[in-house]
């Protein structure tokens, strides 16, 4: 399962990167951290744009760097696709020629049929004849993504592809990224500092701080780890993978299932069987010792408390298991004491709100 092994030690005087990572061969691995945490430097080391003094990088069994054996594959020899923060299109080439630039240089490229599918997937068919200077920021970034995919790379690296866009353009591009997420069968390493992008795209989450890996694991596990700052954040949330099982048209609701239970959501316009990512904010979850039966809240689920924070201030964080899913709840420390909540006891959670991510 693990096919990406990356160990890098790099020193720039005031900044040190020291990571040892193993990432899965499928899905999106998000490198998450504040600016200066080293996430972009790590990605550039993987691409070979930066050469760590000490490094070992193995992708799908191929060694791209091994400083002990003096192996360092130049970027242009690495079968990767890279999307920069700024789209970095060639300003002297049309959109189509930009797409062809890499394609021409790769033997097992995507081929014209699949390139056309990628062009459709990213909605850039009407832009092919234009020059990059006549594109909006969002369009440029979509072209850059298509240009990287046209190479038919073994791995796709994306460095904050949405960071330079305003909120409206971000919203315009995110659905395309979500679609890519479902259709790509290569690993993607995605750098961001946005929790929203983490929630929407990540399968694996790597949290970086000051050049070191603070945590690394599946999104659900990492999101709900109480020893990480993420769980304490006001925006703390967990993301569940669910499947549409039923539409309750009378009430404009959709029922979805997950391993060990089901939820009601506001009506989703999608077929039964469709996979969804649902985000539940910790602040929208409350805990009850008995099953509440006269409440307006629809989503009441049995749960078991799996972890608690010590009550150090007014707010406590509780990690629960609902079936196989992990859930976070932010409650007051006072409630924690009054309800005598302990690890291992069975409770009911009330979920006040959910948001659908794709």
């Amino acid at each position: 399962m693990t096919v990406i092994n990356a160990r890098f030690k790099l020193n720039y005087g005031d900044f040190t990167l020291d990571v040892d990572l193993a990432l899965p061969s499928t899905g999106v691995s998000v490198l998450f951290g504040h600016s200066g945490s080293g996430k972009t430097t790590l990605l550039r080391c993987i691409a070979g744009l930066e050469q760590a003094q000490q490094g070992y990088l193995e992708i799908n069994g191929a060694v791209w760097q091994d400083s002990e054996r003096k192996i360092f594959l130049s970027t242009y020899k690495r079968p990767l696709g890279y999307v920069f923060q700024e789209a970095n299109l060639f300003s002297h080439l049309s959109v189509l020629d930009n797409l062809h630039y890499g394609l021409k240089r790769v033997k097992n490229n995507l081929g014209m049929i699949k390139l056309n599918q990628t062009i459709d997937l990213l909605g850039i068919g009407h832009l092919l004849a234009r020059m990059p200077s006549n594109l909006s920021g969002g369009e440029r970034q979509r072209v850059a993504i298509a240009r990287a995919l046209a190479l038919n790379p073994e791995i796709l690296l994306m460095d904050e592809p949405l960071a330079s866009l305003d909120i409206k353009r971000k919203q315009e591009i995110l659905p395309y990224l979500a679609r890519l997420h479902q259709q790509l069968d290569i690993p993607v390493i995605y750098v961001t500092h946005s929790q929203q992008e983490v929630a929407q795209l990540a399968d694996t989450l790597v949290i970086l701080e000051e050049g070191c890996v603070l945590a690394s694991g599946s999104l659900a596990e990492t999101q709900s780890r109480l020893d990480l700052p993420l769980a304490q954040d006001r925006e703390a949330a967990t993301v569940w993978q669910v499947i549409i099982s039923e539409h309750e048209n009378d009430y404009h609701l959709t029922r979805v299932e997950f391993e060990g239970g089901s939820l009601s959501l506001a009506a989703v316009d999608a077929e039964i069987g469709t996979m969804l990512r649902v985000q539940i904010y910790a602040r929208d979850v409350s805990i009850s010792l008995v099953e509440p039966n006269s409440t307006s809240i629809l989503n009441i689920l049995p749960a078991v408390i799996s972890q608690l924070t010590e009550e150090s201030d007014s707010q406590a964080v509780v990690q629960l298991r609902v079936g196989q899913q992990l859930l976070l709840a932010h409650i007051t420390s006072k409630s924690l004491v009054l309800l005598r909540l302990k690890v291992g006891i069975s409770v009911f959670v009330q979920i006040k709100g959910t948001s659908i991510l794709n």
């Binding site: 970027t75 242009y76 060639f90 300003s91 002297h92 630039y101 240089r105 240009r147 190479l151």
Partner: protein, 228 residues
């Protein structure tokens, strides 16, 4: 009217300028690329050497070249060892002098247009499987096109107009080293003002036309216009 001798000098001048410009572009391109990318401590020295002809009196440059190309000079000994004699008072001596004299006019516009091409474009090319040489030809050269045009035009016109260096190393040999600027001088010396007018007028028209094209057609890169 232009006499046939005048026409010969014009032809010779353009021949020197064309060959010198070609050589300057071939040498100047890698040199300018290196200067625009390097952090080497040699950068300052090389920059200064390249720019020297901008401030040095042409006769000084010509004098040193004359000495160096002479039978006892380094260049002279080298060319004699090659079996081609000395270069002073020859066509190729003139080309060599022109190359050194006009080099800054080629290197500087190239250097500034290379510097404007960010690291990002080259990194993008590398992630798209282009080797450094490949990306130089397919990304750098097209993006630096205004710089190349400016460099070629300035190098060429500056060579056409040189006088001091020619007088020192080329002399005044018809059909070998007698270029337009020298011919104009000859006409004036002989009080043939009408002939001097014709030739001077030709050069004035030529220079003005070239600059007009340069400033009206090349709008892409303001950096490529060093005199703006």
């Amino acid at each position: 009217m232009l006499s046939s001798a005048d026409l010969d000098t014009l032809l010779l001048t353009f021949k020197v300028a064309a060959i010198a410009t070609t050589i300057m572009l071939l040498i100047g391109t890698p040199l300018a690329w290196w200067l625009s990318r390097t952090n080497s401590s040699l950068k300052g020295v090389i920059n200064a050497i390249v720019a020297l002809p901008l401030v040095l009196p042409p006769t000084v440059l010509g004098f040193y070249l004359l000495v160096l190309m002479g039978p006892t000079g380094i260049i002279g000994q080298f060319t004699q060892w090659l079996g081609i004699g000395t270069l002073s008072f020859t066509f190729y001596g003139l080309v060599l002098g022109s190359v050194l004299y006009s080099m800054p006019f080629v290197v500087q516009p190239l250097q500034s247009s290379f510097a404007m091409i960010g690291k990002q474009s080259l990194e993008a090319a590398a992630t798209l499987r282009a080797s450094p040489l490949d990306s130089f030809f397919t990304v750098v050269m097209p993006l630096a096109k205004p710089g190349f045009i400016t460099a070629a035009i300035l190098g060429f016109t500056h060579t056409v107009g040189e006088f001091g260096v020619v007088m020192m190393i080329g002399g005044n040999i018809p059909n070998k080293t007698r270029v337009v600027s020298v011919q104009i001088y000859n006409h004036v010396e002989a009080l043939e003002y009408a002939d001097a007018h014709w030739l001077a007028g030709c050069l004035l028209l030529f220079s003005f036309t070239v600059l007009l094209v340069l400033y009206t057609q090349i709008k892409t890169s303001p950096m490529a216009q060093p005199f703006k």
